[in-house]
């Protein structure tokens, strides 16, 4: 039917859709497992795998020189995680301070985390080593459908003029989806304000370019309302406070938390997370044991409501308790230019002189109004999976189901439940699969854990060999010498 419609068909056994870091680490695993480039195609509209990640980190105030929130041994360019980023930076900087940091964290030091630039440079090196770019087919993926004879068709729309036809179909036995976040999610009151007043200047999302906010504040004293209690809010505050210090600015910061954490919290003695001044503190996105310890083992056994409850227990917005941030905020509170408070904003209205009025309602019933020049929404990238057309199509036509937290239900080996087709399989990894048997999916290490499960499942199905200790060591030696796989 596809061929009859005039759409050219490309045969390739394994297709990955997305082309971001999720696709990259999966392809990296397969290449190291021994799959040749001719067997893999990456369908993507990105120029390189770290493009979206770099865009989002840069907008949220992490340029290449700054450090991201990720563990030293979570290396998407190195499936072994050894040497860690800390070892590498110690070697390059000829400095032991990175190693001292990592040996004494988190008790005597903050968690050591890599510079964004270190991550991107290494991804580029690994992409070249595994010949990643020769596997890329550019374009937008429209849908993935099961074939009557088993396997799948993935329909790609290449860039205009790149191919003789508007669409190309990839016929494959396996498909992997790593399409990332469906989109930015705005707080409803801010979305309403932006749409009603067509003001995309004063109300911004932290993940959008918003350098104009910081530039404005350099020209005259101003006030900013920051909303959210996660890592992005921390980063935005740091930028505002750094600028304040660096340029001697008079910026006033009002910081509203929907959930204001006042101290350690949790259901019992064995499950308490630190917190204070509004924040819930945690080194990384999840408790560390989700990537291999106790929580990972526990979650793997849970189903349905029990699993959802466990997610809820360990979830919640959080940020690391970094010493620098603590001292900046403390100074701000003492000097009266940083005001943190609990509250839900009922509505935002235009105020005098092009400013904004936020009407805040606290849990104790208090109502207050705040005037600010800008509002920065730091609440995240949490849109529903059905906003992504490929996922929506999958849910509608291919038997995919939702999991207990309403995202894509995947098996322990990351096959999308209900989508098997003949001897083919469809896998997914990344944020779309949050809520599954493995919780840390939307992280570097989580993507690698998924990639390993997928590669091992493909090995079971005979698509590639399994990576045992000997091949693993020899491949690591190739990685270390930057030799092709």
């Amino acid at each position: 039917m596809v061929a009859a419609s005039g759409i050219p068909v490309v045969d390739v056994p394994f297709v990955t859709v997305g082309g971001g870091i999720g696709s990259f680490v999966t392809v990296d695993y397969l290449r190291v497992y021994g799959v040749p480039t001719s067997q893999i195609r990456v369908l993507t509209n990105l120029d390189h795998p770290w493009q979206t990640y770099e865009y989002l980190t840069r907008c949220s105030q992490i340029p290449r020189t700054e450090r991201i929130r990720s563990d030293s041994s979570s290396r998407p360019d190195n499936l072994w995680g050894f040497p860690s980023y800390a070892l590498e930076e110690a070697w390059k900087d000829r400095s032991l301070k990175h190693l001292f940091n990592i040996a004494t964290e988190p008790v005597f030091n903050d968690y050591w985390t890599p510079r964004a630039g270190t991550v991107f440079d290494n991804l580029e090196r690994e992409a070249k080593r595994i010949d990643y770019f020769s596997m890329v087919a550019k374009g937008n993926v429209r849908m993935v459908r099961k074939r009557a004879d088993g396997g799948y068709f993935t329909i790609l729309t290449p860039p205009p003029g790149a191919t003789p036809t508007r669409r190309v179909a990839f016929r494959s036995r396996f498909v992997h989806l790593a399409v990332g976040y469906p989109g930015l999610k705005f707080l409803p009151d801010l979305q309403e304000f932006r749409e009603r007043h067509q003001d995309y200047h004063h109300v911004v999302n932290a993940y959008e370019p918003h350098e104009h906010v910081y530039e404005f504040l350099k020209t005259q004293p101003g006030a900013v309302m920051v909303r959210g209690g996660g890592i992005v809010a921390s980063r935005i505050l740091q930028r505002l406070m750094d600028d304040r210090e660096k340029y001697g600015l008079q910026t006033q910061i009002v910081h509203a938390f929907r959930t204001f954490v006042t101290g350690s919290h949790g259901p019992h003695l064995w499950s308490r997370r630190r917190g204070g001044d509004g924040w819930a503190y945690q080194g990384f996105n999840y408790p560390k044991s989700v990537w291999g310890g106790q929580l990972k083992a526990e979650m793997r056994k849970l189903e349905g409501a029990e699993r959802a409850a466990k997610y809820k227990q360990m979830g919640g917005t959080n940020t690391p308790r970094r010493r620098r941030w603590q001292s900046q905020m403390k100074k701000g509170r003492q000097e009266g230019w940083y005001h943190n408070m609990q509250g839900v904003v009922d509505r935002v209205e235009p105020g005098p002189n092009g400013r904004l009025v936020s009407h805040l309602r606290s849990e104790d019933g208090r109502r207050q109004s705040f005037l600010s020049d800008f509002i920065i929404d730091c609440t995240g990238l949490e849109a529903d999976i059905s906003e992504h057309r490929v996922l929506e199509d999958l849910l509608r036509h291919s038997g995919a189901q939702r999991n207990p937290v309403n995202r894509l239900e995947v098996e322990r080996h990351f096959e999308v439940r209900g989508t098997a087709s003949g001897d083919g399989a469809l896998y997914a990894s990344g944020t779309a699969t949050l809520g599954g048997y493995f919780p840390g999916v939307d992280t570097f290490l989580g993507l690698q854990i998924a990639a390993q499960e997928i590669a091992d499942d493909l090995a079971r199905r005979g698509f590639c060999g399994r990576l045992g200790p000997i091949r693993s060591t020899s491949q690591w030696l190739r990685w270390a010498r930057n030799k092709a796989v």
Partner: protein
């Protein structure tokens, strides 16, 4: 690696059975505090019994560490803890040796010999567990330190 109970025990036993003997064999001829004329075979036997004791007592220690780990929100065991545990484990084992409660040793080792050997093995095992282990065993760190 963030351990599970079974993973802790397996990793300890595996590394003490692989890295442990290698370090021991290299060290035995040059250990300080060994009385002149002591047959090398006796020194080696004592060192291997010490190694075995670290393994056996270690199972008990790991149970205790696992219990203490439950009070940590992250349910992790930072590298620093793994390094510092050499103090409590070393002291207990040394006391047991001095009290003659460790069977199978030709002669109680001197403090210098014991601490040199014990510290060297501990550091080697700790370093191996904090990186090189991941090279041959790619699934190990995602399974809480389990090898099987």
């Amino acid at each position: 690696m963030v351990p599970t109970l079974l993973g802790r025990i397996q990793t300890r036993l595996f590394l003490l059975a692989t890295v442990g003997p290698v370090v021991t064999l290299l060290l035995v001829p040059v250990l300080p505090g060994v009385p002149a004329g002591t047959p090398l075979g006796d020194v080696l036997t004592t060192a291997l019994v010490v190694l075995a004791s670290v393994a056996v007592l270690g199972i008990g220690w790991e149970l205790l560490y696992h219990l203490l780990m439950q009070f940590r929100w992250e349910k992790d065991w930072p590298s620093l803890f793994g390094l510092l545990n050499l103090l409590n484990e070393g002291v207990l084992l040394f006391v047991l040796l001095k009290a003659g409660l460790v069977p199978g040793i030709p002669a109680t080792p001197s403090a210098a010999a014991f601490w040199t050997h014990f510290t060297a093995v501990w550091l080697a095992v700790w370093l191996a567990a904090n990186g090189p282990m991941r090279v041959p065993f790619i699934r190990w760190r995602f399974r809480g330190g389990r090898l099987i």
